[in-house]
């Protein structure tokens, strides 16, 4: 069967922390991990699987990638251009709804984790 997107091998880096980004990615197949590097140490933030997306902050900000995304299994991702995305939003703002909803979930999750971390400290 045929497929869309770009293939990455297990262990291959898809985006690297600190790089400038101008697109986001939607996972078509496989699994990735998001890791943040600080003081020479890697902290796994989350894993993501099929139909999930990452790199979306690059669509809204001119800033560097905040994490490294690495395939932890053979993975295929579809690139979403910033230009195409913003053009779509301009015509149909509701296109951003699912992204906003997911970002809301992630903020909630991070808030819970931060609260638990503060509590344990």
């Amino acid at each position: 069967m045929a497929s869309l997107g770009k293939e990455y091998k297990e262990g291959e880096v898809i985006v690297r922390q600190g790089e400038m980004g101008n697109c986001m990615f939607v996972i078509q197949k496989g699994e990735v991990e998001a890791v943040a590097e600080a003081d020479g140490k890697e902290l796994r933030l989350r894993t993501m699987g099929r139909d999930e997306f990452f790199g979306e902050m690059a669509l809204f900000e001119k800033a560097t990638r905040t994490a490294t995304i690495r395939a932890i299994r053979p993975t295929r991702v579809l690139t979403i251009d910033k230009k195409n995305f913003l053009g779509g939003i301009h015509e149909d703002p509701s296109l951003a709804f699912r992204i906003v909803q997911t970002m809301s979930h992630r903020i909630r999750d991070l808030t819970d984790r931060l609260a638990k971390s503060e509590e344990s400290n």
């Binding site: 069967m1 045929a2 869309l4 939607v26 579809l78 195409n84 779509g88 296109l95 699912r98």
Partner: protein, 476 residues
């Protein structure tokens, strides 16, 4: 009140805003969607998704006499079957992933064939983002493989959201007692708060409605030709690769021709001014077409149809409790019909959920998109007229070939002609956007230079080659 009078109301809109609010859907309202092609199913999907977010409980019935599990014309909506790069991205953003069984082949380049030479135009990302699909379940007599109809897949998504499929043929729509009544061929009828006409232009429904109405005009149409050649997966991979092959040939009335590799078959699409046998024979007799096939022999096609396409929208595209979407309403000229179905379906769904089902709501929130598509089509018509001039002018074809081939060798410089051709072939950008890019001084300057350089006596392009033929993708 018949359909005619309902559509006539679109021209008599004078309803005050507070009266329009009475036309908002309530819990328990019902919607009939006529047609389960991409427009109908995507309307249903997005309507039900958005209705859920505002806690609106409305039933959606999709009327479709066909079953998309059938092979050949019985299960097919007669279309070239290409989901554009921009639509693939938008669907992915919406959370709609095209599964491997639906994608028959991922396309990552276009190969342009002309009498002066060929050139492959690759996407800079080197990523397959154009999906070649089957609208039905494959060509007639094709093997029972793990293919999945694109239309069938979208219909499943709509059903998962709660839409109900009704396998009946709708023969008429009438307004009775302030609701819309849908009449079917088997004498079944039912009342709805809104009717969404997504029947396309190859069914008789729009013709029936036009005959009944003084004011409704169905879309203007032209005839196209689509057929399938069986070559086998491996032969197609070796011969066509992950590339869609398009042709710029000096054949009158032919606007666009493409060979689209899919699985074990290659789909041929001919678009233009009423495609007929004479035009087809000229096309099949062209060496540029014959050389695309193994041994330069075009095999017999195993499945074919002459579908009509919308080249001018219906008028009007809405009324009270009635809206036309997709090909039944307004669609893009020649390209990205599925993308236009998505845009009109979602715009109509948003209007219905957040505003109302009266003509005033559609006029304010749905019609602007239809006008935008129609206005862009006017630019598209001009662009295709220019392409027709290029079809007739060998010197222009040489210049375009040279400019494109040289761009494909460079990675740093903007690929202006390549980008224009890519978006024109793929339908990924509006015709207005494509046209405006051709007005860029650098584009014009580069084109003029390549027109001169490509036509100088002894130039590589004049002899059918470009400067760096061994590195380029030019073949002659």
């Amino acid at each position: 009140m018949k359909m005619a009078e309902n559509l006539g109301l679109a021209r008599n809109f004078g309803r005050k805003r507070q009266e329009s609010q009475a036309w908002a859907l309530q819990d328990g309202s019902r919607i009939a969607v006529i047609g389960a092609g991409p427009a109908g199913t995507m309307f249903s999907y997005f309507f039900l998704t958005m209705a859920e977010t505002v806690a609106l409980d409305v039933g959606v019935d999709i009327f479709e006499p066909r079953h998309f599990c059938h092979r050949g014309p019985a299960g097919c909506n007669h279309c070239g079957g290409v989901v554009s790069e921009s639509l693939v991205q938008r669907l992915a953003t919406e959370g709609i992933r095209l599964p491997d069984g639906v994608v028959q082949r991922g396309i990552e380049s276009y190969t342009l064939h002309m009498d002066v030479g060929d050139v492959e135009i690759a996407t800079p990302l080197m990523e397959k983002r154009i999906a070649a699909i089957y609208r039905g379940n494959g060509p007639r007599e094709s093997e029972l493989l793990e293919t999945h109809s694109f239309d069938g897949y979208l219909l499943e998504l709509a059903q998962q959201k709660g839409a109900k499929i009704i396998h009946r043929l709708v023969t008429d729509v009438q307004q009775e007692d302030d609701l819309m009544t849908v009449h079917c061929a088997d004498q079944h009828s039912d009342k709805y708060d809104l009717v969404v006409v997504a029947s396309g232009v190859n069914s008789r429904l729009l013709e029936i409605l036009e005959n009944e109405s003084r004011e409704f005009k169905r879309p203007s149409l032209t005839k196209t030709f689509i057929c399938e050649f069986h070559l086998g997966r491996e032969v197609i991979r070796e011969t066509f690769g992950p590339s869609m092959h398009v042709f710029l040939l000096d054949i009158p009335r032919l606007e666009f021709a493409a060979l689209i590799p899919k699985g074990d078959y290659v789909t041929l699409v001919l678009l233009g001014d009423d495609i007929d046998e004479e035009l087809m024979q000229r096309f099949f007799g062209s060496p540029e077409v014959q050389n695309c096939f193994p041994g330069a022999v075009i095999p017999d096609h195993v499945c074919h149809c002459y579908p009509r396409i919308n080249i001018r929208p219906s008028n009007p595209v809405y009324g009270d409790r009635l809206v036309m979407i997709g090909d039944s309403g307004s669609t893009r000229l020649f390209k990205d019909g599925i993308g236009a179905a998505y845009r009109t379906a979602k715009a109509a769904a948003k209007t219905v959920v957040f505003h109302g089902v009266d003509a005033g709501s559609f006029k304010q929130h749905y019609a602007p998109l239809c006008r935008k598509i129609s206005n862009d089509n006017l630019v598209g018509k001009f662009v295709f007229n220019v392409a027709s001039l290029v079809q007739k002018a060998r010197f222009a074809r040489r210049g375009i070939l040279r400019m494109t081939a040289n761009e494909q060798q460079q990675t740093a410089s903007p690929r202006r002609m390549s980008g224009v051709l890519w978006d024109l072939f793929s339908g990924s950008a509006s015709y207005t956007n494509v046209f405006l890019r051709t007005l860029h001084p650098v584009y014009i300057g580069s084109l003029v230079w390549n027109l001169v350089a490509g036509n100088l006596p002894g130039s590589a392009a004049r002899n059918g080659h470009t400067q760096s033929e061994e590195e380029s993708h030019v073949q002659h």
